[in-house]
């Protein structure tokens, strides 16, 4: 039971990554690799600031800001430097690796029992794993409301149309470069925030913790899409990402339970995402074969 509760908490804080990637991967329609550098950047920033005595809330906000700066770099490389997005992301990701080592001064850094977002006094009375759920729920609700409201503004709609039909967006006077940069900044801000949350929950930051985060974030989006195949509004879609993220954590728990060890998790993650990506195709194939059988 405890492990399931923990999975829900994990799912909630990791959903921030799903949100971030949804903005770039699904709305802007670009594959942003910066993520794998931004996640540890957020973690490194938050852990270093907190262990130097900064308030966890401010440290988390600074980590979010650091993430969006990484997004800004990728955005400038892509729109102004005309570097293909995949390469632009990889460049930033690689550069950020060194930045992360500079920030922490070493390859990993622990919080050393300092108060973090999940260990405030008023959360201490809660049973184990519940602080993460409480804080996670509050943060994810806040982000969902903000994102849903933003996407409904004139600016938000201009951002959506930039991904949907850039040529038309420009013919309506929308600066598609600015919209792309804005999207990458918000997305990587969310991923930096995710890094800060995960690091505080784990009690440490590690320079290599970004490996595979794209797969995890994408998995929560895709699982959500596979479970809920109807046409949904954007706020509903954001909620399916949260559900997808929690579901993904459950699957990992099950995988560990049936005897795989933690070293296998990246392989398992990739397989889960691969299957989820192929599922719509497989499903239509299966439906087609039953249709043929019926003649």
């Amino acid at each position: 039971m405890g492990i399931l509760i923990s999975a829900i908490g994990q799912g909630l804080i990791w959903a921030t990554l799903g949100f971030g990637l949804y903005l770039t991967f699904r709305i802007l329609d670009v594959a942003d690799m910066t993520v794998e550098g931004t996640f540890p950047l957020g973690a490194a920033t938050a852990v270093t600031l907190i262990s130097n005595g900064m308030s966890p809330i401010i440290a988390t906000l600074v980590a979010t800001l650091a993430g969006s700066l990484a997004g800004l770099v990728t955005g400038l490389l892509y729109t102004k430097g005309k570097i293909p997005i995949l390469l632009a992301g990889i460049l930033t990701m690689t550069a950020v690796y060194s930045v992360n080592l500079r920030i922490m001064g070493q390859a990993n850094r622990s919080l050393l029992g300092k108060t973090n977002l999940f260990s405030y006094n008023f959360l201490k009375g809660l049973p184990q794993n519940f602080p993460v759920i409480v804080v996670g729920v509050v943060i994810i609700i806040l982000i969902t409301i903000c994102l849903a409201q933003f996407l409904k503004t004139e600016l938000g709609q201009a951002f959506i149309v930039t991904g949907d039909n850039p040529k038309m967006a420009r013919s309506l006077g929308i600066n598609t470069d600015s919209m792309t940069i804005l999207g990458l900044m918000v997305a990587n801000g969310l991923i930096g925030l995710g890094g800060a949350l995960v690091a505080q929950n784990n009690g440490f930051a590690d320079v290599n913790m970004g490996v595979g985060t794209i797969v995890v974030a994408l998995a929560s989006i895709i699982i959500g899409e596979v479970i809920f195949t109807d046409t949904l509004t954007l706020p509903e879609r954001l909620i399916t990402i949260i559900i997808g993220s929690i579901f993904y954590r459950f699957v990992l728990v099950i995988v560990l339970y049936i005897g795989f060890n933690a070293d296998d998790l990246k392989l398992v993650s990739a397989i889960i995402l691969g299957l989820a990506l192929m599922l719509p195709r497989l499903r239509s194939k299966l439906r087609l074969s039953t249709f043929l059988k019926r003649g």
Binding site: L155, Q157, V161, D164, N165, L172
Partner: protein, 256 residues
């Protein structure tokens, strides 16, 4: 004297300048549009019709020459800045609308063409919806029943009708129609052409329309120009244009 609407002055575009592939694709073109001019543009492929449009829209910079809107020199404005006074409908139905957004969402976007996008709710009210239902009903092709459908799920004709509406929602000083009915079947094409013509007249718009359809070029508009080799080779208007026949135009094309 009536003020001119749009004036292209000695416009020249040379591509690959100073390289082996150097080519003049727009050759010292001057064109003046008066308010409410509706000009049809003919010309074979590569004659410079699209270049002319791209130069006016700002998606292609001039090598030399200038562009005036009324008295204002707008040569230095970029494509996004020119959308304040200019709207454009493309040939490809896919280019003019956002496929994953609904019809009303597309229209809301078009309502702020060339204006700043604010951090303010997009304002999809019931009144707005009713207004859009009324406007789309004038297109007479069932678009008004599909206001909440994603634009990508509309038929080609409906998508083009929507693109046209969006271009004229916020009154443009100059409207560019780039073969906007060419991708449609004959019946749908004729229908959209008639609706477009009616709206251009009702709203007193100044428009340029590229077409390969000689009958349309003669039937619509008050002025007709033919482009060949980057120049305007024929420019007729008024009574003279009304007298033109398809045979005249064919003869003209065969001569060049």
């Amino acid at each position: 004297m009536v003020e001119t609407k749009l004036r292209l002055d000695h416009a020249t575009v040379i591509v690959n300048q100073g390289q082996p592939g150097e080519k003049t694709i727009l050759d010292d073109v001057s064109l003046t549009l008066m308010p409410e001019d509706f000009v049809t543009v003919l010309g074979s492929n590569g004659a410079g019709k699209s270049t002319l449009f791209n130069v006016i829209a700002g998606s292609l910079p001039l090598t030399s020459g200038s562009l005036f809107l009324g008295e204002h020199d707008v040569t230095h404005l970029n494509e996004a800045q020119r959308t304040k006074f200019l709207a454009r409908v493309f040939q490809d139905p896919k280019l003019g609308t956002a496929p994953r957004m609904t019809v009303v969402e597309n229209m809301l976007l078009a309502e702020r063409r060339g204006l700043r996008r604010r951090l303010k709710n997009r304002g999809l009210t019931e009144a707005k919806r009713a207004e859009y239902a009324k406007v789309t009903a004038t297109m007479g092709n069932g678009l008004s029943d599909r206001l909440d459908m994603a634009a990508g799920d509309l038929s080609g004709g409906q998508r083009q009708a929507l693109s046209f509406l969006m271009a004229t929602q916020l009154r443009p000083e100059v409207l560019l129609l780039d073969e906007h009915t060419a991708a449609l079947d004959p019946k749908t094409s004729t229908q959209l052409m008639q609706v477009s013509d009616r709206r251009i007249h009702e709203e007193k718009l100044t428009a340029l329309m590229i077409t390969h359809h000689l009958e349309d070029a003669i039937e619509y508009g008050n002025r007709l120009i033919i482009m060949s080799e980057g120049k305007i080779s024929l420019d007729v208007s008024g009574e003279e244009k009304k007298k033109l026949t398809v045979t005249d135009l064919l003869n003209y094309f065969n001569r060049y």
